[in-house]
Symmetry: C2
Subunit: 212 residues, 2 copies
């Protein structure tokens, strides 16, 4: 592939930049300094400049960045004009939080359908998203290539195998299980306990001081 | 500080290593190869070796790693024997998911109390954690230094200021808001929309192929 690969950490910040620039644009702001950008998204200026450098130089010294240009650029980069359909597997507390999250507001992503095994949830509509029975996954999920897993860890392997059979290409895995998939399927794993533990680890070992 | 600083990405993997080793130990396994470790935690061997190198060489060629030694080492490193109390602010769907997550099972972290503004939640007990009224935050939260924010973005700034006054040192921020805190307070930010958007971005721009 001819495209420059950008680090995953950079890719994760792109939506943050995009969201902030979108807000600025709505407020009618025409330009933004790298300092303002840095304070708003809580990313240091050096990192922002390095991130932007992966896409070519976009700012001018003493002027900062042109909001509209930058926005157009990010919109294209993030394919904001192209909608991706996503399926949510598991309508527990975390799954329900996802369904109430209004992704479309700033994003190019739509949770199109959800699946659960609980009879009282099947047939309902949560946050505008229909909930189907997990047994109907193969029938309903045609054409959807991305799934969010918010099921119990014990269910993760079985459901993952069914998603793989179904032709999924990406899984956002919120279960504590480390799932096994063929090489051509991308899995991002987020574990709430690990995130919390990492914060506590950093607090204990690298306390920030008021004098720093 | 004399300790070597380890990268944040490495710190995030430590709890994964710890959890897997703990399982192995329960199964009575005495040693583990770097390949097995790699397959189980879904981290490539080179990364595992580099991560471990920050703590000194721990493995032996052709033998692998001694599970018990490694476990003792990680337990000490992650302070598994020392309990950290955490407060959860916001008992919506995401907050409730946290309360039902049994952190103590493999961790050194305990959600000690939760806060919400909804009358029907105050005074209840979710997953063994008492829910107090958000107005009682200053009275109840004495001695707790870590908070998880699962409140609406519009509430984030006001609550953050109260937590700062209260002497908090770390915040795990799940709101889409980028909160502002003094330099001595550590904030880790996790945005569900950003995580999903990053996955979709990678799928579009860096598809993995079956031939890779």
């Amino acid at each position: 592939m001819a495209m420059n690969k950008i680090p995953q950490a950079t890719a994760k910040r792109l939506p943050l930049y995009y969201r902030f620039l979108n807000n600025l644009n709505h407020q009618g702001k025409k330009r933004v300094s790298s300092k303002e950008l840095s304070e708003a998204v809580k990313v240091d200026s050096a990192t922002i400049r390095r991130d932007f450098s992966y896409f070519g130089a976009l700012g001018k010294k003493g002027y900062g960045y042109n909001v509209e240009y930058l926005l157009g650029f990010f919109r294209k980069t993030l394919d904001q004009d192209e909608l991706t359909d996503v399926a949510l597997i598991g309508v527990g507390n975390l799954g329900t939080a996802f369904l109430h999250y209004n992704f479309l507001k700033n994003n190019n992503i739509q949770i199109k359908m959800a699946f659960d095994a609980a009879k009282e949830k099947v047939g309902t509509d949560i946050g505008g998203v229909p909930v189907y029975h997990i047994e109907d996954l193969e029938d309903k999920m045609t054409g959807i290539k991305v799934a969010i897993l918010t099921i119990p860890a014990s269910e993760a392997d079985g459901i993952t195998n069914r998603l793989v059979e179904q032709g999924i290409t990406g899984i956002l895995n919120f279960t504590p299980a480390r799932i096994t998939v063929p090489d051509h399927i991308r899995v991002h794993h987020i574990d709430l306990a690990v995130e919390l533990q990492a914060l506590v680890y950093f607090l204990k070992h690298y306390p920030l001081s008021k004098e720093d």
